[in-house]
């Protein structure tokens, strides 16, 4: 073993590798060559007698000296070519030598020279903490556990794996030490594990901050599994490995069913004990999420995987430290709300200009570091502690800072601003005040692009003929309206007027930040006239119903053909989106379009957004208030599919419901009730219903509550919408729905037959019944929701009927 195979001699390129999958594309310009140190380090790859192991060692050494993007590109090109040229057996042999467990169970279908997961796992251009590398090893262990339990994967059995890995050089006990066991000891350990499995019940887990600690038996389960996993018994050989893997499969299965906040409580108790015993470090106890912590605590997790998880925790600690430092530098300029307004000296002196450059750089660094931390901290075990460092996800946003900066910059001379922009890399001449300000703001604001601004300046200088393209669809460059600098009010009491005022200001800021994140809503007639570009291949390919298309302004839109309802569903989704916007509920614009001869819906993509987390414990008061408002709009349009995945969190942290593809589907049959979830048998329960259930079960975060009064603005907006306007909005939904006999047509036909007292009703009468039902629902929202909240024990429900 040891990867000693000699690989046929090849010359390896050291130019940037082509991008694959969703790797960030290389910039479209000439990349400078790699350093001489990198070229030297990659030299052994071209030596004719070098073994595969030697070549991999050279790549690993080269990975240690990457200096810049050119070095990294050269390394990726070389490693991609080397590893891509190895066959499955060579990859397995090398991986085994590097500590990979069960390499024969990875890349089961890989053609020689084709994409192989082990080629990625071995690639030194990616760190061992790469989530994909972690996933590949975890998947191999999971598959081994499955075959050990008797499953076959593509016809491969445990015996096949044992034979293949014996040939490849595996078969010894896993690393990590252990205890010497007799066969009887192993049987005893196995029995103890089964006993612990029986005793494991996540529903018994308690919140130790409130109740007596109870981890639901998780600690005992992990201890029993670890005891068996670390047993060493030469007499049993492969049988012991199979027993351990089989046990792992059972524990995997048991843990897979433990989700939600009770799982968090249980894991937190076990982790606290492990930290106190010195088994987990401070970083591991706080910086990892619960899934990662469970893997780290289990001896059945591959040693390389556990080592990588430890590195992940350390790397996150480093990111946290860098963020704290960047935050301090940023706060020095008064840009954080806690420090008051932006405190920059005038630009009429050199120190003032230097200060502005330092501020722009510090702001960029702060937001970069914050984004890195927030990419993992919201799911980490220490998320509550981290959120006090990072603040609410939307305060302070880059767009808000840009607005504040623009307000400040109005009082500065253009020449001085230009000098600052030049120091930040902007070519000196030709830019307008707005372009100069935007260039400076682009140091921290991802909505602004320095290279695009430079290109616009150059284009302006060239004075091109006026283009006659449709109105572009880009987020408004100006962002939200400027806000007054924060006022220092001193520490207000929670019940004071100042505290309430601050809450309102925060809500307004959140709303403005969200509005700036969402794509603009061009008039429907513009979108109808646009010539969308040809379909672009989707990342994950396959028999895909959806396609991506470039709009005339270059923005990317997604088209989804309405295969089942001939366009009726697209109309419902588009009009639901339009109604949401009319009543102040954020919404991505949706339009009915025909592309490639198919009718469907088109909508722009929202970049940088994630989904609302599945655990209500992680939802803020602002989130829950937004969900209450969303509930009003969702009920009005009869959309019962608002599960957390259908609520996106934009880069500024605001929530925006998407996917109203089920709008009106259950109209005429639906009920406003927490137990009315027509999709629950498919696992879809609306986020607002989850919030209500969590509130009753103590599953929301401390201090977060369901506030019926949050619904008021949306109810009032619906009330302000004239019936005639509402009917006009819904007319195409009614017409198309009847024409294509969608879900709601049958109950509407029944209702109108009853109303008219006849069994024979026309399609026009059914459409009219739909519109009457929709208008009646709109008009009754206040009373309906007052009754709903009161009936469900949210005491302030009655307020809805008393407040104008």
């Amino acid at each position: 073993m040891g990867g000693g195979t000699t690989k046929a001699h090849e010359s390896f390129v050291v130019s940037p590798a082509p991008t694959v999958g969703t790797e960030t594309p290389e910039p479209d310009h000439v990349v400078p060559g790699p350093s001489s140190a990198m070229l030297d380090a990659l030299g052994p790859l071209s030596e004719p007698d070098a073994t595969a192991a030697e070549q991999l060692a050279a790549l690993k050494a080269a990975a240690g000296i990457v200096g810049d993007a050119a070095d990294e590109a050269a390394l990726k090109a070389a490693s991609g070519q080397f590893l891509g040229g190895l066959d499955t057996e060579q990859l397995a042999e090398l991986a085994l030598a590097e500590g990979f467990e069960h390499p024969t169970l990875v890349g089961l279908n890989a053609a020689s020279g084709g994409p192989h997961p082990l080629a990625h796992w071995l690639d030194p251009a990616y760190p061992p903490t790469s989530p994909t590398k972690l996933a590949i090893q975890a998947k191999a262990s999971e598959r081994f556990a499955a075959v050990a339990e008797g499953a076959t994967i593509a016809g491969v059995t445990l015996a096949d794996v044992a034979a293949a890995e014996a040939v490849a050089g595996a078969g010894g006990p896993p690393s990590g030490g252990g205890w010497v066991a007799t066969p009887a000891d192993v049987v005893t350990a196995s029995a103890a594990l089964h006993q612990a499995l029986v005793g494991f019940d996540i529903l018994q887990a308690t919140n130790p901050a409130v109740d007596d600690p109870n981890d639901g038996g998780l600690g005992a389960l992990l201890a029993a599994e670890n005891h068996l996993a670390t047993a060493q018994c030469a007499e049993l050989g492969i049988e012991l490995q199979a027993a351990k893997a089989s046990a792992k499969a059972l524990v995997d299965k048991s843990l897979a069913g433990a989700t939600g906040y009770r799982q968090h409580w249980a894991v937190d108790q076990v982790v606290a004990g492990a930290h106190a015993d010195g088994i987990l470090s401070e970083a591991e106890a706080k910086n990892l999420n619960r899934t990662e912590q469970l893997a780290l605590l289990r001896s059945s997790t591959a040693a390389t995987e556990r080592a990588a998880l430890g590195e992940v925790a350390s790397a996150r600690a480093g990111e946290l430290a860098a963020f704290v430092e960047a935050k301090a530098a940023y706060a020095a300029h008064g840009a954080l709300p806690v420090a008051g307004g932006l405190e920059l000296a005038g630009l009429d002196s050199q120190p003032g200009k230097d200060g502005a450059v330092a501020f722009a750089t510090a702001a960029g660094d702060y937001f970069d570091q914050r984004a890195k931390v927030m990419s993992w901290s919201t799911n980490a075990a220490g998320s509550v502690e981290f959120s006090t460092l990072t603040g609410h996800s939307w305060v302070p946003g880059q767009s808000e800072l840009t607005s504040t900066f623009r307000t400040w910059a109005k009082d500065q001379k253009l020449a001085d601003l230009r000098a600052v922009a030049t120091s930040l890399g902007m070519p000196a001449a030709g830019a307008s005040r707005a372009q100069v300000q935007n260039y400076i703001a682009a140091s921290w604001d991802p909505a602004l692009d320095k290279s695009a601004i430079i290109a616009a300046v150059a284009a302006k200088a060239a004075k091109p003929a006026k283009a006659t393209v449709p109105k572009p669809v880009v987020p408004p460059a100006a962002g939200p309206a400027p806000l007054a600098p924060p006022v220092s009010l001193g520490p207000p009491s929670a019940r004071s007027f100042a505290a309430k005022h601050l809450q309102i200001v925060e809500a307004l800021k959140a709303h403005q930040a969200l509005a700036a994140d969402l794509p603009a809503r061009p008039p429907a007639e513009h979108v109808a006239a646009w010539a969308f570009g040809p379909a672009q291949a989707a990342h994950l390919g396959g028999a895909h119903a959806k396609s991506l298309h470039a709009a005339p302004d270059g923005s990317i839109w997604m088209f989804k053909p309405d295969k089942t309802a001939g366009g009726a569903r697209a109309h419902a989704e588009a009009q639901a989106s339009a109604i949401f916007v009319r009543v102040g509920v954020p919404s991505v614009p949706v339009y009915v379009r025909s592309i490639g001869g198919k009718v469907g819906s088109v909508q722009p993509l929202v970049h940088g957004a994630t989904s609302l987390g599945a655990d209500p414990k992680g939802w803020s008061q602002t989130d829950v208030d937004n969900l209450v408002r969303y509930h009003v709009a969702a009920w009005a349009v009869g959309d019962h599919d608002g599960n957390p995945a259908n609520v996106i969190r934009t880069p500024s942290g605001g929530l925006c419901p998407v996917d109203q593809g089920q709008a009106f589907k259950f109209f005429g049959r639906d009920r406003l009730a927490v137990d009315y979830n027509p999709n629950d048998s498919f696992g879809s329960v609306p986020a607002f219903h989850q919030a209500y259930a969590a509130a009753k079960a103590g599953g929301l975060a401390k201090g977060v509550a369901v506030r019926p009064e949050a619904a008021l603005p949306t109810i009032k907006a619906f009330e302000a919408l004239p019936d005639a306007a509402y009917r006009a909005l819904l007319a195409p939904v009614a017409t198309e729905g009847v024409a294509h006999k969608v879900h709601w047509v049958a109950p509407m036909r029944k209702d109108v037959a009853e109303r008219l007292g006849t069994a024979s009703v026309s399609d026009a009468e059914v459409a009219e019944q739909f519109l009457r039902t929709a208008v009646a629902r709109k008009s009754g929202l206040r009373a309906t929701f007052a009754g709903f909240f009161t009936a469900n024990g949210f005491g302030a429900g009655a307020k809805l009927e008393k407040v104008a």
């Binding site: 694959v20 999958g21 969703t22 790797e23 089961l108 279908n109 890989a110 994409p115 192989h116 997961p117 080629a119 990625h120 990616y126 760190p127 903490t129 989530p131 994909t132 972690l134 996933a135 975890a138 998947k139 598959r143 499955a146 994967i153 593509a154 016809g155 897979a256 069913g257 989700t259 893997a295 799911n379 989707a538 990342h539 994950l540 396959g542 028999a543 895909h544 959806k546 991506l548 990317i556 997604m558 819906s601 993509l605 970049h607 940088g608 957004a609 989904s611 599945a614 599919d641 599960n643 995945a645 609520v647 996106i648 998407v658 089920q662 999709n679 048998s681 498919f682 696992g683 879809s684």
Partner: protein, 108 residues
Amino acid sequence: MTTPHRRIWALLARDPRTGWASALAGVLGVEGDQHHLSWVPYAPAAEQWRARVTASTAPAATAVEEWAELADGVSWDLVELEAPGSPDLRGDVEFAFDELVFLDRRAR
């Protein structure tokens, strides 16, 4: 007696890098009343799909039809893939998983 039709689906979650649901969460295979799921380990993006699958009480073959009907790619999505041709359902799911996880590889 006819052989049940085998169908393989990639379960996707919203990816901030692309603006739509393109992050691999897992692979689902359905064949008659059998199904097999293979999740991407350690992927927070898989959390939503896990929650949905855990809460689903319908047979997988029925549920996946409903999900496909509702999916529109903005918040999450699923994509039907051609079955790779393994002798067994689990093999096809894992074949697809290996191909997709390589495509979806990332440094952090």
